[in-house]
């Protein structure tokens, strides 16, 4: 296994880690207006994610940093090519950050309403657009010989990409709702349990639709699976996790429900990533595709960053687990913070 493959996997781990962790708070944000009706419910929802969202977002920063460092040509091509879409994600994340931090600083209903809306839209937009971006990349982009994207903003809103966007959105919603179920009790929990079942049913339908669409129209995405059938472990993992969800919920194993939802999310990302390998940004003209080799940094840089990661990540895991342990258990808005 060469360093390029190692970094392909590590970037996958970072994207997966981001999707699982920021996934639950983006999910909570996207459900927020529909689930949180009373002020107490809203406070509980906010409180459940407040200590974590910032640390979770660092996964995005680190993931983007890792792509910049390991595959600079991908970073340059995708970020500039998806300019307006990237900026929409960015403004979403900024408004969301500010809404979470500033909402409870002021007591008036009007201020809180505005912040609630910003929190929702700032969570919903990225949750939807991440999948849209993935869908566009997966189906191949029109790139020129400098690897720049030549389509416009509206070309990004095609059927396949939107389908993947909604599939992704519902995966975030599964994350968010299983997290709320885990962290709350009583009426709020009961309400979200019901919504969870709807989200689950929708996810199942979307998963089948997306698989069929890919099977019929995107042969380039499953060649790897035909050549190396053991890779099918990834889609199998997400199918098993998805199938297990209602059972786990029914038997009130909420920790396991959240884990299964996370596994489903990771399975989705792995399925797409392994299908594209070794391409990172497939081009319509395969000669122009950005791969883990022609888009990569030098071996020395990849090696240096691997050392940085091997030293840094265990430390990060150590204190992240410590902090999650401090906040374990149900949310109580009368004790925590504010």
């Amino acid at each position: 296994m060469d360093l390029n493959i190692v970094w392909f996997l590590l970037v996958g781990v970072l994207i997966g880690g981001y999707a699982v962790l920021d996934g639950f708070d983006l999910g909570v944000g996207s459900l927020y207006l529909f689930v949180g009706k009373t002020e107490e419910e809203k406070l509980t929802l906010l409180q459940s994610i407040s200590p974590f969202w910032d640390g979770n977002e660092v996964w995005l920063l680190t993931g983007a940093g890792a792509i910049f460092a390991a595959f600079p040509l991908v970073y340059a091509s995708v970020f500039s090519g998806f300019y307006l879409a990237m900026m929409l994600v960015l403004f979403g994340l900024i408004l969301r950050a500010v809404a979470v931090e500033f909402r409870n600083q002021v007591q008036t209903a009007k201020w809180r309403q505005r912040m609630d809306f910003l929190f929702f839209i700032g969570s919903f937009l990225p949750a939807l657009l991440f999948g849209v971006a993935m869908g566009n990349i997966a189906q191949g982009l029109p790139l020129n010989d400098l690897h720049y994207y030549t389509g416009g903003f509206f070309a990004l809103l095609n059927v396949y990409a939107l389908l993947m966007g909604i599939l992704g959105l519902f995966a975030f919603l599964l994350q968010g709702s299983s997290y709320i179920i885990l962290k709350t009790e009583g009426e709020l929990q009961e309400k979200v349990r019901r919504i969870f079942q709807l989200i689950w049913a929708a996810s199942l339908i979307l998963y089948i639709l997306a698989s069929l669409y890919t099977f019929v129209a995107m042969p380039s995405l499953y060649i790897n699976y035909i050549n190396k059938p053991w890779l099918l472990a990834a889609p199998l993992l997400s199918v098993i996790a998805l199938a297990a969800l209602p059972l786990l919920l029914k038997t009130a194993r909420y920790g396991m429900t959240f884990i299964a939802s996370s596994v489903y999310m990771i399975g989705l990302i792995a399925t797409l990533g392994l299908g594209m390998f070794p391409n990172l940004v497939p081009a319509l003209d395969p000669k122009l595709s950005l791969t883990i080799y022609n888009a990569a940094s030098s071996n020395l840089t990849l090696k240096t960053m691997l050392i940085i990661a091997l030293i840094g990540v265990p430390i990060v895991l150590f204190y992240t687990i410590y902090v999650y342990r401090v906040f374990r258990g149900k949310v109580d808005i009368n004790i925590d913070g504010y």
């Binding site: 201020w111 020395l300 940085i308």
Partner: protein, 444 residues
């Protein structure tokens, strides 16, 4: 409109806005860690109250710093794709290290302190505050290392039109990294200290919340004395490094046109780019030669050595540097005055000093900005000094796209700035037992 100009404008605006906050939070985090240390050792309630109050202010500033920081990382790719391709092999590793070693540390423990303060012991509170300060300082290190590589590239070779890493430590510790890191972090300490001094002075002037005011003023003032004194040495070592590695930049800082021995240290003057002279230049003869070469007889390179197209924009570089230098003089006077009053036990009652501290509260923020502007204008026309010109580095975007996002940034950031000011003022008033009107509740 010119796409390179628009991308520069957007980057400049968003970086200017972002750079208001990190120096404030690095400085405040460090002083808060000191206060938490005092609480941990002495168990006096007053330190607990102080830590809570200042940490509350810190979190407001921190939130906007984080939110506006994401923009910076995105923009290298969105607006400067040619630059990203060129430096990716070098720039990426420090950025990744910043994520792994600094961002996680900072944000995880800020979250713990905001929401878990009541669940952890005073010892753990001190440790967490210390880790927040450490994380934000490490973050500054990595981003300054990356930026310094743009100023004084090292540890690389050029291959296929891209810079390729040959020596990681030579690249990270390139000739300007350490001088710029110490200079910038000490600037952050001054910024945090002046901010705390200003608000404390306000408490004392209004004769409210005076116990927190007195203690905070004392700690911040002592901290400021040390930081300002240190800056004379650190600023000096940075300017020596600039003289050695980027002579065109130093010449623009000083408005020095002709290469000369016994060069004067400029205090003020009016550079004239057409006639290539600096009018009404007031300076101290020989001192510039002596400062940068340790010898008044040594020659300092002037701007005329460089073709006009290779010179940085003189006015912008000169005046932003000038602002920083003149303000530094005022900082020195202010903290000396404060130290004298503190020694005589009169600092809490001297209304003139308290007013001066209050009105100087945000001056270091402006000085950070102008120092950064001097450094970046002075690097032009290069984006990577000597290797890549700024006008070759931008993404091939359509002008209307950038104009749209500039408008959005101006709107969103103006809102953020108003929000921050409102919330900080509100915390200060609340600490004095006063309420102020809330948005949306006007006209009773």
């Amino acid at each position: 409109m010119d796409v390179v100009f628009l991308s520069r404008l957007q980057f400049g605006l968003t970086a200017f806005f972002h750079f208001i906050f990190p120096p404030l939070t690095i400085g405040l985090a460090t002083i808060i860690a000191i206060i938490e240390y005092l609480y941990w050792r002495r168990h006096e309630d007053i330190y607990d109250q102080m830590a809570r109050f200042w940490f509350k202010i810190f979190t407001i500033l921190f939130a906007v710093g984080v939110a506006s920081g994401i923009t910076m990382e995105f923009q290298f790719g969105t607006n400067w794709s040619e630059y990203s391709k060129f430096v990716g092999d070098i720039f990426g590793a420090p950025l990744a290290a910043e994520g792994v070693f600094a961002f996680f540390l900072e944000s995880t423990f800020v979250g713990l302190l905001i929401f878990g303060r009541n669940k952890i012991s005073p010892t753990m509170r001190f440790v967490s505050s210390f880790l927040v300060a450490l994380g934000s300082t490490l973050s500054a290190f990595w981003i300054i290392a990356a930026n310094s590589w743009q100023q004084t590239p090292a540890g690389f070779k050029i291959e296929g039109g891209r810079a390729i890493l040959t020596d990681f430590f030579a690249a990270v510790f390139n000739p300007s990294t350490l001088p710029r890191f110490f200079h910038t972090v000490d600037g952050a300490y001054i910024t945090g200290a002046f901010f705390m001094m200003g608000i404390s002075a306000y408490f004392l002037l209004r004769d409210k919340n005076t116990e927190i005011g007195r203690r905070s003023l004392r700690i911040a003032l002592i901290f400021a004395v040390i930081a300002v004194s240190g800056q004379f040495m650190l600023g000096h070592s940075h300017s020596v490094q600039v003289a050695n590695t980027q002579p065109a930049k130093l010449a623009a800082f000083e408005g020095l046109w002709n290469t000369q021995t016994h060069a004067a240290l400029n205090i003020i003057g009016f550079p004239d780019t057409d006639k290539e002279v600096t009018h009404l230049a007031v300076g101290i003869p020989g001192i510039l030669s002596w400062i940068v070469h340790n010898d008044a007889n040594a020659a300092v390179t002037g701007l005329k050595t460089f073709a006009p197209s290779e010179r940085p924009p003189i006015q912008a570089t000169y005046w932003s540097y000038r602002f920083m230098i003149l303000a530094a003089g005022w900082f020195a006077l202010l903290v000396l005055w404060g130290a004298y009053l503190l020694a005589r036990g009169r600092v809490y009652k001297n209304r003139l000093f308290l007013h001066a501290a209050l009105y100087s509260m945000l001056l270091p923020v402006l000085v950070n900005e102008t120092g950064w502007m001097a450094a970046e204008f002075g690097r032009q026309p290069w984006i990577v000094y000597g290797l890549l010109k700024t006008n070759q580095a931008a993404s091939p975007l359509a002008a209307y796209q950038i104009i749209m996002t500039i408008v959005l940034f101006v709107l969103v950031y103006s809102g953020l700035l108003m929000g921050v000011c409102y919330l900080v003022i509100r915390e200060v008033k609340k600490a004095m037992g006063e309420a102020i009107g809330q948005p949306g509740s006007s006209g009773k």
